[in-house]
Symmetry: C2
Subunit: 406 residues, 2 copies
């Protein structure tokens, strides 16, 4: 493969930064106040890919969107999204409601109902108020515009503290295309707000099968490498639409460029979710190396990232390296305490069974920052490595999740 000159730069515009996409966000009355219904439409039928929760309790919109993508062979014109109500654990009535969202969107946008995808986030077990949503869909269709990305990003929020959207422009010898995205993050309350929804757009031309492969590839080290509290919801979904308005076709040579830019955008959006985690005050990068395999490393990194003792110590700014050793030891993967190493920021605190107390002040200073790093070498001599992002655990998290409905 020959070298290719590529420039990737951040741009404004979120999901409507790529040409050919329009969006809107409206208040349809599911929330007591604020935007709660988003619509995303592509001017032409787009290639479409989706990845969904692995939870065996699956919300109705996930079931419907999965079926739609299978039936259309990976094509879509529009995505409709509501917040406040997850439409999960709602039985047959919930499936009908999700299908009615599809029908109403197809009518409002003027497209084949087989080309509409749907996502919901909010309270499990709550019935969706379909008339309210249908009125919102009609209103949103009338407001679809290239400038509608901000309202859409706001309408999908639950306990998110701010909208989360990003976009990049990718310049290649074959032409310039863009990728945009918006996500909603780690609010999970009343009783369980869907962990994450993500919506990605591009004006590149991508075959549906290639698009799906790119989304899976990009999500693996990004959306699937973050955790706020170890929960996975009934509604997790990430969609990617490729409309083709840029005229740039993603062929074999451009695929690595496309995936690289997509992965970078997903990584930034994924970290935005963690930064916005309930009660979070720090973004934590957990690096595990020296594992016998990449999956061993991922497993240990996830356990560390979900450990209450690690997360509370990081919240307190306490370089408690012993907690990292203890979690690595219970991860169920090969671990050699005698050759293990633990580093917090710049300071290696434990290596080859020796404790370096004198470096603890450096580690403590590092932990005062908003973005911190902890690293564990499992000591097996293997080359398996993984990185996971998480946030600290504060008393605020407990307050949010204990007291929300009282």
């Amino acid at each position: 493969m020959t070298e290719m000159r590529v420039a990737v730069e951040p741009v404004a515009g979120g999901i409507t930064a790529p040409r050919g996409f329009r969006a809107a966000g409206v208040a349809c009355g599911l929330k007591p106040a604020g935007l709660d219904l988003a619509l995303l439409a592509c001017d032409e039928p787009a290639s479409a890919a989706g990845i969904f929760t692995t939870n065996r309790a699956v919300a109705a919109p996930v079931l419907v969107s999965r079926a739609q993508l299978a039936q259309s062979g990976g094509r879509a014109r529009a995505i409709v999204i509501n917040s406040k109500c997850a439409n999960a654990c709602t039985g047959e009535a919930g499936l009908s409601a999700a299908r009615e969202m599809v029908t109403a969107t197809a009518e409002a946008v003027g497209c084949d109902p087989r080309l509409v995808l749907v996502a919901s986030t909010g309270v499990i077990g709550m019935r969706l108020d379909v008339p309210k949503v249908a009125r919102g869909i009609a209103e949103a269709a009338g407001r679809l515009a290239p400038g509608g990305h901000e309202a859409a990003a706001e309408a999908i929020m639950t306990t998110d503290r701010a909208p989360k959207e990003r976009a990049v422009r990718v310049a290649t010898p074959a032409g310039t295309f863009s990728i945009g995205g918006m996500v909603k993050g780690a609010g999970m309350i009343e009783p369980l707000m869907a962990t994450m929804l993500g919506f990605l757009t591009t004006d590149a031309t991508v075959d549906p099968a290639v698009l799906r492969r790119a989304l899976v590839d990009a999500a693996d080290d990004t959306f699937n490498a973050i955790t706020v509290d170890g929960e996975s919801s009934t509604n997790d979904s990430v969609f990617l639409l490729a409309g083709g308005a840029s005229g740039v076709a993603i062929d074999g040579a451009l695929y690595p460029v496309f995936v690289g830019a997509l992965r970078g955008l997903c990584a930034d959006l994924a970290k935005d979710i963690v930064r916005g985690g309930e009660g979070a005050t720090r973004l934590v990068e957990v690096r595990v190396a020296g594992a016998q395999s990449a999956s061993d490393a991922r497993r240990a990194a996830r356990l560390i990232a979900n450990s209450l003792l690690v997360k509370t110590a990081l919240h307190g700014g306490d370089p408690n390296w012993g907690r990292l050793v203890a979690v690595a030891g219970r991860a169920g993967v090969a671990f050699d305490e005698a050759r293990a190493r633990v580093r917090i920021g710049p300071a290696e605190l434990f290596a080859d069974a020796t404790v370096f107390d004198e470096r603890e002040a450096d580690a403590a200073a590092h932990l005062q920052g908003p973005e911190v790093e902890v690293a564990v070498d499992l000591g097996t001599g293997g080359s398996g490595a993984a990185t996971v992002w998480t946030c600290d655990l504060s008393a605020e998290y407990v307050r949010i999740n204990a007291d929300y409905r009282t």
Copy 2:
């Protein structure tokens, strides 16, 4: 097997309730103030069994006690325990320190050093101050007495709010014997206090192999069925000594009686640990049924018991049944949402895809009590079931674990 008339009644005296045992607790100076060294001795060589942490980072006292039990074929005269320092991640020096505790105890008690077991709990990575401990051992040996159980139970505490000890007397046609126990619980700070230590005694006569089987049997549904925060430490140990002073030999007919009484005592001590969990305000019994196997049920129950969203909702007294469904769905075991059932206390809130909002007030009232129950039927029609005990998660837990060293 013929019916046997058996009476099991709670008695005072903790680990020295069984005849032939003496104990002491002293302050040797590891803690700034308070008792920090415990000694337990049997008048005669006792059968001994131990179960230990499954963490691959294993503290020195665990390695030494395991080796002692293997070498002695399950015999012991004494156990020495220190708090404040876990003697974990301390390399060869830590092993030497644990062995010196054994030697000093054998000298002070006047027994074969092969018959001494050792346990530690406290800070990982801290070197044990052996001279202080050795002086403490000499002092404790001089104070060994049948009334020493209270001081011993206090000396093994870390962040425990109160000592935890219990004993039962078991009357059988073959004679009367006792079982006693003390535990230290779920304090895990600075940086990681060993999750739990347990010390059990009986004056029944039990063969070492039978004793080990009884301990494993009894611990499985008790000490191995509790969780405060999903962490397992480098130092977890439970020991059981059988001295034989009652003259009652545990034969085939008495074995079920012995295990039954032992399991009951372990269950009460295990629940004491959960009640005393850091920041805990409620004891929570998590029951899972309708699983395809007992191990599936145990797995789902543990995930529910460790879920931050479940634990925070229980802290807030919020009957968020949707969180139970979502965790059961991500447990990686067979789960049928359409036939699943969720109950909180007396109120079934979700069954056969139907939500019973009108029962929520009953569930909320149940959650105001100090001991609560949540139950999930996974809906597979299988007979697998399991019970796990946990506590709620409060902001106090975060404060304890974030701010301890600051």
